[in-house]
Subunit: 347 residues, 2 copies
């Protein structure tokens, strides 16, 4: 079996502060397209689409479950099985799950750990939708929006919902799910174009550019004169602080991410937590992989909406592994417009 | 019907920063011991014990549901009904609920509002325990410990519990409830005497004086090498920040109070909230009056434990309305040793 080229995106060293493209480099190794014998790595597959996700920044900081400098990044992706040593998968299967930032990967089919968001691979059964969707709307981010909004926040018709990072991979779905649930929904995002997208394409009732608001509290009061019932937290810091001032009694906050804090050596302080008491607020942090048992129910809910055009998904597609570092780094300055996908191969 | 003296503790003006005794004054009015006709105030009663509670500081700051300067403070208390215009109460009944800081009060029996912790009066049926207990262990603070610990945190045997302000009205009960539930429990308090009380009298497994710990994170790591499952939050600020670093996966935080923050014009920032995400932490703020429907169940649980000496309650008793301002203000410097009660009259 001939060796083939295997381009990889490798972390140079642990990162502090904002990540830069130069924190990673592209190396070219080789791989034999055959499963090694007696290995725990039981799948060989070709990576097709990789997912750029905010949580990846956390793994670049030195810590117990960090990336290993000198090794390729890991992350969610879509791939095709080339060889399988596991009964559940066979050659030719399309799968999504945690893979590596390279062209071909040898991976274990059982990746469950308690500290990261890894799980076994999901077989892709529906290919009448774009395959890249399994890095986004039909993958981890889609499930995140579904679990964080429906399962943790129990929305009721007429409730007022706020979403930060609202044009991102998760936020754009939370907003559309909120409309399906009969809620009023407002999103914040970081550019005029993103705000236009939210209001004119994605059906948000209102949206604002947080970079243009000198007073987030005032912006929220303007959009929510009666206050916020549900906040889907993607950013943390100042936004959370302003939200706490504007929550209604018995409000619910789903804590999905805090992207504004990941690059700070000293995170911003949140000062308004005492509002949780007299407003009886519940804040719930979550990691979506704990709820992957709901994936079939999620697909059953969402696929018809996608097919009927009732739920849209905006993707920002970067082509080629060599553009991976820029695509990933762009998340933290908000350069991406919608879900950031990296194409490794269109087969 | 003759007029009688009615001494009152009156707020002079809204407070900012730490409250001082001089923010209140004692005035002597008179009251006719008869219900006014066609009044919404349907109970006249004699106040016996008043409760000094941390939340009262919040009502001293100017705001929608604040105290009215020039009027007596309001707060929980135990009283005897002298006249009743309401079928549920009759002359001679002992009751507890929200009353006023004065000798005799005219009050409505229906005080339900959404912004404060008021509710109708509870009739006191069991007088084989000290009457003052109905300002503490058998009143609002006791219910707070019960609801915040059992209902919101769902403790399991063997779980690790941390309580701040652990010798206070609520904290001392949370610790004892945690032991009844088979948990390991550690408390923090502000003096050597309080720490001794926790360890030697109240059955806490461990306790520390937070004023003597230069590094709260290190103190928690020492007491909880495996981390904290349940945190009962009474103080906020730096303590919460250190706790977030030490929570275990799926930890629960019951947010009862944040006494360290009530006197600050600019509250301390909490910087470690991102731990909520990967640790899947749930934080739930609550106001106990939402759960007063559980009061009968609570009494059924707790009274036998009190009678059998299995649950203790430490009270700090101040005598006489004129000592009310000092007793109340003392809460914020931690001068009280156990539940701070103010005796108005022993009849």
């Amino acid at each position: 079996m001939a060796e083939v080229r295997n381009k990889q995106v490798v972390l140079k060293d642990y990162v502090s502060g904002f990540p830069k493209e130069s924190d990673m480099h592209i190396i070219e190794g080789t791989v034999t397209l055959k499963l090694p014998e007696a290995s725990s790595e039981v799948l060989l597959f070709k990576n097709l689409y990789l997912s750029c996700d905010p949580y990846m920044r956390i793994l670049m900081t030195e810590g117990a479950s960090s990336y290993t400098p000198g090794s390729p990044l890991t992350g969610y992706g879509v791939g095709r099985v080339l060889e399988s040593g596991h009964l559940d998968y066979k050659k030719g299967d399309l799968v999504w799950g945690i893979t590596k930032w390279e062209e071909y990967s040898l991976v274990s089919s059982d990746q469950t750990t308690t500290t990261t968001t890894t799980k076994p691979f999901f077989k892709i059964q529906h290919t009448d939708v774009p395959l890249s969707y399994y890095t986004g709307i039909l993958g981890m981010p889609g499930m995140t929006a579904y679990v964080g909004f429906f399962e943790l926040c129990s929305p009721k018709k007429g409730e007022k919902v706020f979403v930060s990072a609202a044009s991102g991979a998760v936020g754009q779905l939370v907003g559309q799910f909120a409309k399906l649930a009969g809620c009023y929904v407002v999103g914040s995002a970081g550019s005029k174009e993103k705000v236009d997208l939210l209001k004119n394409k994605l059906g948000f009732d209102e949206a604002f550019n947080y970079k243009e608001e000198s007073d987030l509290n005032a912006a929220l009061k303007r959009c929510f004169p009666e206050g916020i019932d549900i906040y889907f937290e993607n950013v943390g810091g100042k936004t959370l602080d302003a939200v706490l001032l504007n929550m209604r009694l018995h409000g619910r906050i789903s804590v999905c991410g805090m992207i504004s804090q990941y690059n700070l050596t000293q995170p911003e302080g949140v000062t308004n937590l005492a509002n949780m008491i007299f407003k009886r607020i519940r804040m719930q942090g979550f990691i979506v992989s704990d709820s992957y048992n709901l994936y079939p129910k999620f697909l059953e809910f969402l696929l018809p909406h996608i097919r009927e055009g009732k739920v849209m998904y905006v993707e920002d597609i970067a082509e080629g592994l060599e553009n991976g570092p820029a695509a990933l780094v762009g998340l933290y300055s908000g350069r991406n417009f919608g879900k950031q996908v990296l194409v490794v191969s269109r087969e």
